[in-house]
């Protein structure tokens, strides 16, 4: 029999594309129930009624795929609550229709490009997470340019950076350069590095600020904790 914990674990692989955090940790999973026969119902909630429907669609569709792939799940239903486009999104995902089908003429393209643009931002943000401790430890910018990914000490941040790079097809093994261009995958040389690192930090600050606003709005909207919600680091 499938347990809720397994379903939640699967939902933990579903990320808010903009915030690069699991929907569980963000508090977006309002409930998750599993019947004895393996029927799963997941209800998702977002910080506002008008959260961008393109990202909402991605999260609901990803959640549906993640839950459906858990062993023992017979039927999966993922429902987005309290959103202006709930109906279209829920119907589209349940029918396994793409974004364009779900919104008809309102949407001109699928969301793959949007998603990969945001994974690139996640790579930049992750670069700051991994490099800042190295700079604090005394590495110079020139020295960073010479390092391989594996020269950074093992950490959750390094693993996450590796995963995001791999997702985009960028060099991701530990022997590849620590600093690569998020579009071309080319190593970033010492001359371009100061600006690259500045942009990496700016990108992380944006994601953090955005996430903190989203969490604040969510808490205001719902006074209950989400399934698997993690405390915010302020």
């Amino acid at each position: 029999m499938t347990h809720e914990s397994e379903v939640l674990e699967a939902l933990g692989t579903v990320r808010d594309p903009e915030l690069d955090e699991p929907v569980t940790a963000l508090g977006f999973v309002s409930s998750c129930t599993v019947s004895a026969d393996g029927d799963v119902e997941v209800r998702l909630r977002l910080p506002t009624y008008f959260c961008a429907p393109n990202f909402a669609f991605l999260m609901v569709a990803d959640a549906f795929d993640a839950v459906s792939s858990v062993a023992g799940v017979r039927h999966a239903e993922v429902v987005l609550e309290d959103h202006f486009a709930s109906e279209e999104i829920n119907r589209g995902v349940a029918a396994r229709a793409g974004f364009v089908d779900s919104f008809g003429s309102l949407a001109v393209a699928e969301l793959d490009t949007l998603r990969s643009d945001f994974v690139r931002k996640a790579v930049l943000a992750g670069t700051d997470r991994v490099c800042r401790p190295l700079l604090a430890a005394g590495y110079t910018v020139d020295e960073l340019a010479e390092l391989a990914l594996g020269d950074a000490p093992p950490s959750a941040d390094r693993t996450r950076l590796q995963e995001r790079r791999a997702e985009l097809g960028l060099p991701a093994d530990l022997g590849s350069p620590l600093l690569v261009d998020a579009v071309t995958g080319e190593a970033v040389g010492p001359r371009a590095l100061p600006l690259h690192l500045r942009r990496a930090r700016l990108t992380l600050v944006n994601i953090e600020a955005n996430a903190s606003v989203c969490r604040g709005m969510l808490q205001h909207r719902y006074q209950t904790r989400g399934q698997g919600e993690m405390e915010e680091v302020r």
């Binding site: 961008a52 393109n54 309102l106 100061p194 700016l202 600050v205 600020a209």
Partner: protein, 357 residues
């Protein structure tokens, strides 16, 4: 005006509203959108200090006396700039139109600047309306919602030829300031409503106009900052940055301010309360008291009283030709001392000079 520790601040609120979101003004059949919109605004208020929160019923619509007291008597604001938001598909008489703002402004000469709006999809009729609004209300600025959906159109970009016609017309009419809403919006489906690339184009092609990116492009601050460093006539509107982060998330507020000061610079950042989402009083008080909370932020540009005077009022006064009494102006030496570290810092990075990261 606000005075603290012997420093006098001239306050221009560059972004505020006077709306009617009461249920009586909801369009039949679209109530859920009208309700969803104002509840979303109300949730933003929740990010301010608890003692400043209002019940939703008050938030729907306030009377003139409340606005005048909150903004001018209690809120330290010297001049307030109205930014209209029409949303007539959801609100019968509009959410916050030029006329609603203008009617209040006429009763209080010298207190308000009444900005208007345009939408390039309105064709010749829209150009005429723009001309009439400028003539009627003396508008020197416009507020634009590029991502607004309308009749099957999924918004527009400032790069569109139709938008250029409007920008040319606006310039001809004496409009100087183009406030572009890039941020949480109405129907942002497949088009990335937050993309600021179109502002980049328009700012290059209309060097006489100033482009104020409202809410600093949140949630795309990084794209906005990188664009703003390259365009001398692009400014940061701080509405939501102060209201949404300064109290609720002080650490992230410090980081965002540090980045803005570095990339955009204190000469191009402008306070806006976004009233009545948040009252200006606590924002002005907290901002004047604000500094980075710890050493963690030591490589961001410093702020002093002169920096805050610019951001709270002098920069906007400059863009709108608002006369500032001499006791609020910066002495020349103070200005030189405050400098513009952000701009210099970025130039240094561009030249490949050693940069603190």
């Amino acid at each position: 005006m606000y005075e603290k520790d012997g420093e006098k601040y001239f306050v221009v609120d560059s972004h505020m509203h006077f709306w009617d979101a009461s249920p009586a003004n909801w369009v039949a059949g679209h109530e859920q959108y009208a309700k969803g919109w104002i509840e979303c605004f109300h949730a933003y208020m929740g990010l301010g200090p608890p003692e400043t929160h209002w019940p939703l019923e008050k938030f729907y619509k306030i009377d003139e006396d409340t606005l005048m007291r909150d903004v001018f008597e209690d809120g330290y604001v010297d001049v307030a700039i109205f930014q209209p938001t029409y949303l007539k598909e959801w609100y019968r008489t509009g959410f916050n139109t030029t006329e609603q703002d203008g009617a209040l402004a006429e009763k209080h000469p010298g207190k308000f600047i009444v900005n208007t709006r345009f939408d390039p999809r309105d064709g010749d009729a829209g150009l005429k309306e723009l001309e009439e609004n400028v003539a009627r209300w003396g508008s020197r600025g416009v507020k634009l919602y590029t991502a607004e959906w309308r009749e099957g159109s999924r918004g527009y970009t400032l790069k569109d030829p139709e938008a250029y016609v409007y920008l040319e017309k606006a310039q001809e009419l004496g409009i100087k300031n183009i406030h572009v809403h890039k941020g949480p919006t109405i129907w942002p489906l497949d088009k990335d409503a937050f993309d600021v690339a179109d502002v980049d184009h328009a700012a290059t092609d209309f060097p006489e106009l100033n482009f104020i990116v409202e809410h600093v492009g949140l949630p795309r601050i990084e794209d906005f900052c990188f664009m703003a460093t390259q365009e001398p006539n692009v400014y940061a509107g701080l509405a939501v940055v102060l209201g949404g982060l300064m109290h609720a998330r002080p650490k992230f507020f410090a980081k965002v301010m540090g980045e803005l000061l570095f990339w955009v610079g204190e000469d191009k950042m402008m306070f806006g309360s976004d009233y009545s989402i948040w009252e200006p009083k606590w924002q002005v008080e907290q901002f004047v008291d604000w500094d980075y909370p710890s050493d963690e932020f030591s490589d961001y540009p410093r702020v002093n009283a002169a920096s805050k005077k610019k951001m709270l009022g002098l920069n906007a006064a400059n863009l709108y030709d608002i006369e500032v009494p001499v006791e609020f102006q910066l002495p020349a030496e103070a200005e030189a001392e405050a400098g513009a570290p952000g701009v210099l810092g970025v130039a240094g990075v561009d030249e490949g000079a050693e940069a603190k990261v």
